[in-house]
């Protein structure tokens, strides 16, 4: 139990640092740690979102305060974002996740190389 507590807090620290540093990806680092507890895949993903939402609020406020961006710049993305999330939650079972994972990996790899070059 003690070890679980340590792992849980560590998953929060990792998610927090990545969220503050990169403005995303907190869930990506939290999920594997959460899975090492008693949580199953879907529980780990859901719980990661319940962590990254408040973290993003704080992080977003820090970014906004620093003048890195304005809220007006973010507005155009909100509606398509909500739409995408809705479609995603309903289409989930009908989508070949493995194929999607590989396509996503390819896109991320390409973008990573572009940024590094």
């Amino acid at each position: 139990m003690k070890q679980n507590k340590g792992t849980t807090i560590a998953s929060g620290v990792a998610a927090g640092i990545i969220n503050g540093l990169f403005g995303s990806g907190g869930g990506m680092v939290a999920v594997p740690l959460l899975k090492s507890l008693h949580l199953q895949d879907r529980q780990a993903h859901a719980t990661a979102i319940s962590m990254t939402l408040p973290l993003s609020l704080v992080s977003g406020w820090l970014y906004l305060r620093s003048g890195a961006f304005t809220l007006q710049e973010a507005y155009p993305y909100l509606l398509p974002g909500l739409l995408g999330a809705l479609i995603g939650s309903f289409a989930l079972k009908r989508i070949p996740i493995r194929l999607l994972q590989r396509l996503f990996a390819a896109l991320v790899l390409y973008a990573g190389i572009r940024l590094l070059l």
Binding site: G16, I17, G23, G25, V58, G84, K93, Q101, A105
Partner: protein
């Protein structure tokens, strides 16, 4: 139009457990060439309503472990400040390089994951033999 699609795809993938908002940052930073800090800030705000919606659905399906989340926040909040000040210190130019490196790691991990079996209990899946992972919705 393209930015609209980028946001849509980002949330779509995010709701399936594929890297949350990172597609929107990738679009803004790696393809449009926006400053890294600006892309990240926009992405954070973008993520909030998407996460709220997902959370409502996940809560209905009783998938959220709130105790775990609350405990994680104890470490998460100081973590956010540390990460943010690190980002400020690096500056957009250098930060985008680190982000690029982070993306390479995500790519490797996601690719590796696509070959793994999901971890789910038998009563949740109906049968022991199942195909690809199912994420968010019941």
């Amino acid at each position: 139009m393209i930015q609209w699609l980028a946001a849509l795809a980002s949330a779509l993938l995010g709701s399936m457990g594929l890297g949350g908002g990172s597609v929107l940052i990738i679009y803004l930073s790696a393809f449009v060439g926006m400053e890294q800090m600006r892309a990240q800030g926009i992405n954070l705000v973008f993520f909030i309503p998407v996460a709220l919606l997902s959370l409502v659905i996940h809560t209905k399906n009783k998938l959220v472990s709130w105790r775990t989340a609350a405990l994680a926040l104890v470490g998460g909040l100081p973590g956010v400040f540390a990460g943010y000040y690190l980002a400020q210190w690096l500056g957009s130019e250098l930060l985008s390089k680190f982000f690029g490196g982070f993306l390479l790691l995500i790519a490797v991990r996601t690719f590796y994951q696509s070959f793994q079996r999901p971890k789910e209990s038998p009563q949740n899946t109906g049968s022991g033999e199942q195909g690809p992972r199912r994420g968010g919705l019941q």
